[in-house]
Symmetry: C2
Subunit: 133 residues, 2 copies
DNA sequence: TTAGATGCAAATGTTTTGCATCATC
DNA sequence: GATGATGCAAAACATTTGCATCTAA
């Protein structure tokens, strides 16, 4: 099972209830922006501060176990780092889904026409999800 | 030749010197964030206001002849809309290059595993450009 | 002449920082 | 007990808005 305390310890972050809650929210909900996180955590921690959310999210992004995803026409969202994957963003309901597709075709195409050294390939599909169609 | 006045007229925007300058900066430099635009326009228009830049850039994005590109680990940049293309972002010098590669392979792959209806596919490669290697 | 653009100042929104207090290790 | 986290308030930064004046059509 997924254990947020162990994850935090692995990355040398002290295990505080607020941090555990941030990680668990992200585990449960997949992608969240800062505001979503704040609103949800307020229920458990009525006096939690936005500064705490920012500090922790930034720390986790630096430790590379949170991923920052910049989305066209929407707020930046955060997610737990997992297997490399792409994103589907629904223009209608705003929901973001993960999808694992092989992007190496693109990398190969790029490498054949350019000397750019690729570290990472971000793919965001914009469109309409199944429900909203 | 490229004519920014005609472009503005086509999209029902009054042709002002500030707007012409914005379009021409983007034509010349490719991708710019709000701050870059502001700094460059200040030379021509010492009293131009940031509000003017924001208002105009937003208007042009709405008219769909500017494109807003959200870049991982950097400020949002704007570019003139052209043929669909992907972006190469150099982690070392920050430069953004355009590259035209066929993303339909990805779209086909996605369509075969999901019912998501794709309107647009954004691809951003992060890595190191030729110069910085 | 009219509709809309500009620049300024103020308002709003977002993110970061400093610091006293508190919790984890 | 020491190191670092939290929450608060303030600061810094980013973006939008209202309005008087000016300009393009």
């Amino acid at each position: 099972m997924f254990n947020s305390s162990i994850l935090l310890k692995e990355y040398n972050l002290k295990v505080t209830p607020q941090r555990v809650a941030i990680v668990e929210e992200l585990y449960k909900n997949g992608h969240m922006n800062i505001d979503d996180l704040y609103k949800n955590l307020l229920e458990k921690f009525p006096s939690i501060s936005l500064a705490t959310i920012y500090k922790n999210v930034n720390a986790m992004v630096e430790k590379i176990f949170l991923n920052e995803v910049k989305v066209p026409d929407a707020k930046t969202v955060y997610e737990l780092v997992k297997e490399e994957h792409s994103h589907l963003v629904c223009s209608s309901c705003g929901k973001i889904e993960d999808i694992i597709i092989d992007t190496s075709v693109l990398n190969n195409t790029l490498s054949s026409v350019s000397n750019f050294k690729i570290d990472n390939t971000e793919v965001v599909f914009q469109g309409t999800c199944e429900k909203c169609q």
